[in-house]
């Protein structure tokens, strides 16, 4: 059971009270200039990391705010919970780098 404290309302929420919003940092390319490959990557391709993952959650049964979390996808250990305008402590390294 994943339990997170919302950084906005400061309430503790269980996974059933939260909504998962996918990986953080998936940026929409400029529609007029993006290539088909960039657009496909944006829409569909995901890192789907085994290990530390930077992701988005919503306090949906509480204050309704979206926030950011760093969580380990095997152990579910949470190492960072941030407001949406805050930046992650570090960029997660991966074989594919920052693409």
């Amino acid at each position: 059971m994943i339990v997170l404290r919302c950084p906005y309302c400061q309430e503790q929420r269980t996974e059933e009270e939260l909504t998962y919003g996918g990986e953080a940092g998936v940026e929409r390319p400029a529609p007029d200039t993006a290539s088909d490959e960039q657009w496909t990557d944006y829409l569909f391709m995901r890192r789907n990391r085994k290990g530390l993952n930077q992701e988005q959650w919503c306090c949906s049964a509480g204050c309704g705010q979206w926030f950011k979390v760093t969580r380990h996808t095997v152990t579910h250990e949470v190492t960072e919970i941030l407001r949406f305008d805050e930046s992650f402590g570090s960029e997660l390294a991966g074989p594919l780098g920052g693409t």
Binding site: E15, T40, M45, R47, N48, R49, K50, V74, L96
Partner: protein, 416 residues
């Protein structure tokens, strides 16, 4: 290979069962193979078998990081069916079911297929309309399926709560009589035994660590058991597809999620068919040993943790008891989870990848077990011929780029 039959059973028992041989060889990994298949689950082992049987390619290794069938092949609810909607999906899943129907004879291994009927309940008029729509589509695709009314549901599933005041009233059901269950371990063991007999090397406890590449081709695989050179590589690793793709240097439109299931203690045979309620996403059948097998919805966040959560047990059990009040006093015996590879359109990804000699079989999501014979046939074709099988063409990785999704998730109402 030692053939299994009633005569061999009698003969061996007369010899106090001292003459049985291991079902498959356990060779060491050789330095080089024509084809290396990553993943010794149902799909990987079936791929090896059909490579040898259909294409005569036998210099093949299957490498598995754990034990055979210890991933999703051993973690599903053993249900097989082929009630899909789109023509291309129907062709795929019905091929799998037809191959399963002949598998015990083909493999000389009893997979214990029990075609006892797969039922999706209908709780409201919207579901009634979409079930009728599906039955018509299935008829056009040449796959049998039918509607049954409330009285027939009551006759077939007498323990179901059919009361007018039930939380989810039952108006009728969709039924595929050829749907059934299979002893899931037997699928892995049967394919492993038959493939091994045809010369395939199956190496367990052998994890992939990385790839050596030249000119966009994989020339060798680094594993925990050493380096192995390869001509062509197939991957059938379900929930870990992104991990292997990452090592090879590309991305997949896959997210990994936890899917949980559980069984009760064994009780007498009282529940003959598979029953799914679309209202709760819960499905339940009784094994031949008497345990009630129950599965439910997907955990919606990314996960590689192969274990379940109490909130899902609670959700599943409340729904089961709502449907079958008589099961309320049954005790749970086991609860587990597997990691499934979810794709945006809920259809598999089959065939070539951005790496020239790497072919993929993934993306079956929550329905990989029922598709094993088809997944194996199609990946074997892709590896042997260098291009996808005609049935796999619509399921290529390129469909995401060309925007020709096969949105079976929306079409056939996949519960997750």
């Amino acid at each position: 290979m030692q053939l299994y039959s009633i005569a061999s059973l009698v003969w061996q028992s007369l010899r106090k069962n001292a003459g049985w041989q291991p079902a498959w060889r356990e060779p060491l990994l050789k330095p080089s193979y024509d084809v290396v298949i990553i993943g010794g689950g149902g799909h990987g082992l079936a791929t090896a078998y059909y490579l040898a049987k259909n294409h005569g390619v036998t210099n093949v290794a299957v490498i598995e990081k754990g034990w055979l069938g210890g991933g999703n092949t051993g973690r599903n609810t053993t249900v097989v069916r082929s009630d899909y909607l789109f023509t291309e999906s129907a062709a795929l899943y019905d091929l799998a079911l037809r191959l399963y129907e002949g598998a015990s004879r083909d493999l000389n291994f009893n997979i214990m297929l029990s075609q006892r009927g797969y039922m999706t309940l209908i709780h409201n008029h919207h579901q009634l309309e979409s079930a009728r729509h599906k039955v018509n589509w299935m008829a056009c695709n040449g796959v049998e399926g039918e509607m049954i009314d409330r009285d027939e549901v009551r006759r077939m599933v007498p323990l179901l709560n059919m009361s007018e005041s039930a939380r989810n009233p039952v108006l009728g059901a969709f039924l595929q009589r050829r749907g059934g269950t299979i002893r899931h371990d037997a699928v892995a063991w049967g394919y492993a035994r038959a493939a091994s007999d045809l010369g395939v090397d199956i190496v367990q406890n052998c994890e992939v660590l990385g790839f050596e590449k030249t000119n966009n081709r994989i020339t060798a695989i680094r594993t925990t058991n050493g380096r192995v050179a390869c001509g062509t590589v197939g991957m059938a690793v379900a929930g870990h597809s992104s991990v292997i793709a990452d090592m090879a240097g590309f991305r997949l439109p896959v997210t990994s999620h936890c899917l949980q299931a559980m069984v009760s203690e064994p009780i007498r045979a009282i529940h003959a068919h598979m029953v799914l309620s679309p209202a709760t996403g819960v499905y339940i059948n009784q094994t031949q040993k008497g345990e009630l097998v129950m599965g439910s919805v997907l955990d919606l966040y990314n996960s590689y943790g192969q274990r379940g959560t109490f909130c899902t047990i609670e959700k599943t059990i409340t729904s089961v008891v709502e449907m079958f009040p008589v099961f309320a006093q049954t005790r749970l015996m086991r609860h587990w989870a597997g990691i499934v590879d979810i794709v945006p359109d809920s259809s598999p990804i089959l065939g070539p990848t951005p790496i020239d000699n790497l072919h993929v079989n993934c993306g079956w999501g929550t329905g990989g077990f029922k598709a094993i014979p088809a997944g194996g046939t199609l990946l074997a074709h892709s590896l042997a011929m260098g291009q996808p099988h005609p049935l796999a063409r619509k399921f290529g990785l390129d469909r995401f780029r060309s925007n020709r999704l096969v949105d079976e998730g929306a079409a056939s109402g996949i519960a997750h």
